[in-house]
Every structure is written in C-alpha cells, then in structure tokens.
Symmetry: C2
Subunit: 165 residues, 2 copies
DNA sequence: ATTACAATTGATATAATATAACATCACCAG
DNA sequence: CTGGTGATGTTATATTATATCAATTGTAAT
C-alpha cells in the first residue's frame, strides 16, 4: 500500500481494518439476505447501502442524496428516504436517532438493536451487541410491565482510537 | 372530584396520580434549583417548562410554540428552542431523540440520563433510573475504551397501563 | 400475447424541525 | 450613568422528512 494512502484516505481509522473487505462482506451478506427473504435489493437500494457502508460514520440523508446524484441524476429526497426505509426494515442499516443520520450495520441478519458508540471527534459509530446491557434492559422492561417493540441505545463521547491520539 | 373530569381530562392515566401536585412539585424543584445554581428561570422558560409538564407525553417544539403564542404572542421558533436548550442544560427536561420531542424530567437535580419508555398507544413517556442498565452500560464503555459524554436510552412499545386496557 | 396487479420509482410540492444572524432590551457591577 | 452580559425580538433560511399522484416495471394468471 502506498504510504500516502494514509493521508488521502477518507477513513480516519482506516488502517486498522481492511475496509474494502469489510464493505464487500457486508454487501454480500445484504445481497444474500435479500434473496433468502425474497425482497429486492434494487440498484438504488444497493447504491445507498454502498454509500453508507463506505465509511463507519453516520451519514445524513441529504449527504446521501448529493452523493447519489452523479449515479441517479434524478434522485430526490423521497428516493433516498425510500431506500433508507427499506434498508432499516431489513436490518441492513441503523438509524442514529441522536444525529438524524444513518450508519451501516455490521451484523446484518443477526441482532438488530445494538449499543451505538458515537465518537464526537472522528464521527465514527461503533456498534456493540452489549449483551449485559440488553439483559438488564429486558429485566427493566419486565419490571415496568412494558412491552418493547424497538429500542435505541446511543452514547456520544470519544472513542478509544481518538482518545489515544 | 367530579367524575366527568375523567372524561374531559387531557391525561389518559390522570386518575392514577395527582397531576396538579406532580406539576407543582416539579416546578418548585426547578425554581429552587435555578436559584441555587444562580441561573434564571425567566417567564418564558417557566412557561415552556409548565407546558411540557402539563402532560407526561413528549411534546414537539412547534406544538409548544402554538401553545405559548396566546401568552407570548410574538413567540418564534427561536423563542422555544432557546428555552428548550436552557431547560435541557439544567436537566429539567429530556429531549426524546427518537421522537424529536421533549418531556419533563421528574427527577430534576438527580440523575439526568434515564431509560425512557415511550408508549405508542397513550404517548406517555416513563422515566426510569434503571440502575442495572446504567451499570452495564458503564462497564461496556470501559471495555470499549469509550468515554461517554451523554447517552440516550429509549424504548418504544406499549406501557403497562395501556396493556391492561 | 394480454391483461391485471403489486411494487418500485419519478416528480412535484410542501410539511416539520432547527439554526443563523443581528438588533434591541433589561439588568446589574463598576 | 455607563459598559457589559445575558435574554429576547425579529427576520430569514437551513435541514430533515413526508404526501401525493403519475409512470414504469416485473410478473402471475388468463
């Protein structure tokens, strides 16, 4: 790898994992899941998913719109929001509630609701299954007599990589 | 109490607690806290807080704007958002991230970040300190090397009162 | 092949949420 | 009384999201 790639690379912590592999694996899983579920990962949906997976940062809907326009030059807000709705329904991305933004799901097809650690410095979002947290939450729901349909568990702060800089 | 109050009352579960007392206590705590902290709970901020405390539902900013206009007839979006910013800073209300809305904090001055149980049926929001959840979260942050500055822990579903209907 | 149906996308418009920027006002410390 | 700070007034605009209806596409039944 050209050492200058480090400088020009859009991903702050990119050197720490093989991002191309990361993306292609996630796309592969998404494609297979959609086949199994008999739902359509259309070109637009696939492109939006790719754009989201391109970084580990939360991406805004209108950012996606701008970025998809070169590919779909008649894209409109609804184009994006419809794709996002689909991807969320299929558990392929997460909506980051505290940012009104979206991030790829690295564990598509498995657990859909995770702890999201949002770094205010590098803007990357780390997903963590956080099983103890989920167990404690379930217990709390039972105690409260609450039937949970969905949950959002998000923290903003500084990630380990930025803290060590 | 006039039995008809039950019908006309804006709060679905109102009979289950003395809401006037609930509001006046929360206002009292807020007033005292602001004195102690030497910050100003101005008339506008007080009115916005009252409007929010009026129900246990999450309230939208523009709903508040509509409701405050009779009292402050030159109120604008900024009027509301500034009051909301203040009230959030002081821990007197919560922002409900998954609804882009706001709800009163019943435990002002104590713990600021709680589990919010949002009922999709009656729209009320229950705050729970959920200590086990918080402990598990802290442990998860340590494991991840993440320094959390703020967190949002929200669940949508059906509350115990609505489930029993 | 033809038709009918559902799902997807195109296209236009508008609603809902939130902030920027600068002027004015009210208060209090010096 | 004056200068500074925080709060509010005011106008404008940015950002996020949805509604609506038309056109297209794929496909299943006839």
């Amino acid at each position: 790898m050209n050492p200058l790639d480090e400088v020009s690379h859009p991903h702050p912590h990119a050197l720490e994992h093989d991002h191309e592999k990361c993306v292609s694996e996630a796309l592969g899983i998404a494609e297979r899941l959609c086949v199994v579920r008999d739902v359509k990962l259309t070109p637009i949906r696939h492109q939006v998913l790719e754009l989201i997976l391109d970084s580990h940062k939360a991406v805004k809907a209108y950012e996606l719109l701008d970025r998809i326009k070169p590919l779909q030059n008649n894209a409109q807000p609804a184009t994006i929001y419809r794709a996002l709705d689909f991807l969320i329904e299929q558990g392929l991305i997460h909506r980051v509630e505290s940012l009104n933004a979206f991030v790829g799901c690295s564990c598509s097809g498995h657990q859909h609701e995770l702890l999201l650690l949002i770094c205010k410095h590098c803007n990357e979002v780390e997903e963590r299954p956080a099983p103890q947290v989920m167990t404690a939450l379930s217990q709390e729901f039972s105690q409260a007599g609450f039937v949970a349909h969905s949950k959002a568990i998000e923290a903003q702060g500084i990630c380990v990589k930025c803290r060590e800089l």
